[in-house]
């Protein structure tokens, strides 16, 4: 019965799958040293950055491509068949919003992202500064002046390279070394743009900062870097959103996000990932191979990752925290939804080095269709990390009987004083639950939304208000008609 109803329901349309018709400057496909030099020149980069790129590229060429190591089989990627740079032609040096290509403005409006400062996101009275990244470049960062009054730097990565080279030089690669892994090395070699954010000592950032990533051109990859530095005693809440057009081809998104939290600083990083997941037969969709890592560099600092993952054909992603400072805190709250033929392998690493460090992991996986959803995580308590504590909870929710949920929790403890707890559950949205709801007058679709939102509540509660509403809607849409 469950399957009949499941089959009855039609695949939900991806609502962000449109393409913007805009004149772009796109590099020819292929990757070699010349391409990297051209890219670096295009961005007018200093010599030291080009050196880093070339070194990373060399390393990358000698690294084996990680293939099929996770629960995610996929065809080999032809890295020569990707263009590594694509930018809307009407750039550069925008003085005001009037100079932004109206097509671009329309694109972001359509996505619910307002680039006009007086306008507010989706009608909600909110305070969000946005850095909008379209293909390979940042098109606009809002509220820069307001933020500058507090000394907060929020701009595109390219601008930061020009304007704050010392900061970039100091922090870039501190958390994710250039050859950390295959895709991080690739990113370092070819990254085109991204966001940079610096919160000075003792400043509580007056508004949410946000980056919105949009892939538009076909045949391109998106490789961006985000670097967030929170100086002593500062606080920032950072949001990340992303979408892509509906295409038959697979596109690669290999980003690097680095967070550095100094003494007593707190960074909250929230993601609503909604890349195009491919159609119901698994054709097209984004490969989302991302390295996200933060370091609690000094005492009493805190880094918190919250993610709602509904998109991408394949997601590999383990937002991690290195707890170096004493009493530092790392958190990971995740909802990962896979439907149809999507594959997700996501989780976190909590590396406890300092004393009295604490970490919390709450992971909620939801699998529907014939998808596979894995939690993969590492809790490592190093020697000398006295009184470290970790609590992990990994729950899986299955819809239908053709999907998979997998949990791979690794725990390494080198200090006897550590207390590590792990809980895991697997449940199914049962016919019984649905029938119970129906018997109270609630139809299947509303019942599923109710049950799923209830299941994810602990994570959704961690999202900033505007995002939580969006995430709830997204969950309902991603799972529409996926259960009987």
């Amino acid at each position: 019965m469950a399957n009949e109803i499941l089959d009855d329901h039609i695949q939900n349309e991806y609502k962000w799958g449109f393409t913007t018709d805009i004149e772009s400057e796109t590099f020819a496909k292929g990757l070699n040293e010349t391409v990297i030099r051209a890219l670096s020149k295009k961005k007018n980069e200093p010599e030291w950055l080009l050196d880093i790129r070339l070194k990373a590229f060399k390393q990358w060429q000698n690294m084996p491509e990680p293939n099929n190591w996770a629960h995610v089989p996929y065809p080999k990627i032809d890295f020569q068949d990707i263009s590594y740079y694509s930018a809307p032609k009407k750039k550069p040096e925008l003085k005001s919003l009037d100079e932004v290509d109206p097509e671009l403005l329309k694109t972001f409006e359509k996505l619910g992202i307002s680039l006009e400062e007086q306008k507010r996101l989706s009608g909600v009275q909110s305070n969000i500064a946005v850095d909008a990244v379209f293909d390979s470049v940042s098109v606009k960062t809002t509220f820069r002046e307001t933020l500058a009054e507090k000394g907060v730097i929020f701009c595109s990565f390219s601008e930061a390279v020009q304007e704050y080279p010392e900061l970039i030089k100091k922090y870039m690669g501190m958390v994710v070394p250039f050859a950390d892994n295959y895709y991080a090395a690739l990113n370092t070699a070819v990254f085109s743009d991204g966001s940079f954010c610096y919160i000075p000592k003792g400043v509580r950032c007056p508004m949410e900062l946000s980056t919105y990533f949009r892939i538009n051109s076909s045949g391109t990859g998106q490789f961006e870097r985000t670097l967030i530095v929170a100086d002593e005693g500062s606080y920032v809440s950072y949001l990340e959103g992303c979408t892509a057009p509906q295409r038959d081809e697979n596109q690669l998104h290999a980003a690097v996000v680095e967070i550095v939290a100094h003494k007593g600083a707190e960074v909250k990083y929230s993601t609503v990932q909604n890349w195009y997941p491919g159609d119901k037969d698994g054709k097209g969709g984004i490969y989302n191979f991302v390295t996200k890592r933060g370091i609690c560099l000094e005492d009493n600092s805190k880094i918190s990752w919250t993610q709602v993952e509904t998109g991408s054909a394949i997601t590999w992603k383990y937002p991690s925290v290195i707890l170096k400072g004493d009493n530092s805190v790392g958190e990971f709250y995740s909802v990962a939804v896979t439907n149809n033929k999507q594959e997700a392998d996501t989780g976190t690493k909590m590396i406890h080095i300092g004393k009295n460090t604490r970490s919390t992991i709450i992971s909620k996986g939801i699998s529907a269709g014939v998808s596979n959803n894995s939690y993969r995580g590492l809790v490592q308590i190093r020697k000398g990390a006295k009184n470290a504590r970790n609590f992990s909870q990994c729950d899986s929710l299955l819809m239908g009987d053709q999907c998979g949920a997998h949990t791979f929790p690794y725990i390494e403890i080198k200090d006897k004083t550590a207390i590590v707890e792990h809980e895991a559950t697997t449940s199914k949205i049962g016919e019984d639950q649905l029938f119970y709801c129906k018997q109270r007058g609630i139809d299947t679709e509303k019942a599923v939304a109710l049950i799923v939102n209830g299941y994810c509540k602990e994570v959704l509660n961690k999202l900033p208000m505007e995002f939580a509403v969006e995430a709830q809607k997204l969950l309902a849409i991603s799972l529409e008609g996926s259960v009987g």
Partner: protein, 253 residues
């Protein structure tokens, strides 16, 4: 209220209900008793619209409408309520949120606007008292971590909030201690009116000391084999089901 005629139903090809006839009018309480496996829970499941069961013959008219044509949610919206024998847990969904969703779905079905938050809260408070439900439980997830007695009480609480026309209590007394039984029974007695009706399914006469039925039916082997007034329940209590079994096995054989 409800008119069941020659109802036959089966699960996985096995016939469980073999021609049920039952007429329940507004203001009445009917008790259905019977030994294990006689089809009591199947009857409640079929009336509530559980899809595992296939109705092979017969008809059910509810308030003049063909009940069997309706989806389970529409049956609920039309005023049919089932107090589950084993209430289901829904982690993360608060009782309040669950009931608010339910009540507004039912209101929408009737063309009414969603209930104002303050009216809803007042209603909650009022009905909490009625079933002596701990206020803490209403904010907890639906049935999660509730004791057996709390779950049953929560069913009656939901019934009180949703105010159905016809409520079917499926072995609501099973697993209840004397105090909880009294609370559940009091709830039902306070809710009964000339406009609604109850079908109380039970094994034991005990519940019927508290909820006094107008009629008692004995279900055996998928059929109502005997009907009477509340004295029938007492008689049954004294003699047990064996005599019934004996009698009807003979006549059928």
């Amino acid at each position: 209220m409800i008119s069941i005629k020659n109802l036959h139903a089966s699960i996985n090809g096995k016939e469980i209900l073999k021609g049920i006839n039952l007429e329940v009018k507004a203001g009445e309480i009917h008790a259905i008793m019977g030994p294990n496996g006689s089809g009591k829970s199947t009857l409640s499941s079929v009336l509530a619209g559980r899809e595992d069961y296939e109705v092979t013959e017969g008809s059910v008219t509810f308030e003049g409408k063909d009940l069997l044509e309706m989806s389970p949610e529409d049956r609920a919206r039309e005023g049919l309520f089932l107090a589950f024998q084993y209430p289901i847990e829904i982690p993360g969904v608060s009782n309040v949120n669950f009931l608010k969703t339910a009540i507004n779905e039912i209101r929408a079905h009737k063309g009414q606007d969603p209930m104002e938050a303050k009216d809803f809260l007042a209603l909650l408070k009022d009905k909490q008292k009625l079933v002596e439900l701990d206020a803490k439980l209403t904010n907890r997830s639906v049935n999660e971590g509730f004791s057996g007695g709390e779950k049953k009480r929560n069913e009656i609480f939901q019934m009180a909030i949703l105010e159905p026309k016809l409520a079917i209590l499926d072995e609501t007394d099973s697993g209840l201690d004397i105090d909880a039984l009294r609370v559940v029974a009091n709830g039902v007695n306070k809710l009964r009116s000339k406009n609604n009706a109850f079908i109380v399914i039970t094994h034991y006469q005990r519940l019927l000391d508290h909820i006094v039925p107008d009629f008692v039916h004995i279900l055996y082997n998928g059929k109502i084999v005997k009907s009477g007034t509340k004295e029938l329940a007492l008689e049954l209590e004294a003699k047990g089901y064996d005599e019934i079994k004996h009698q009807f096995e003979k006549t059928e054989g």
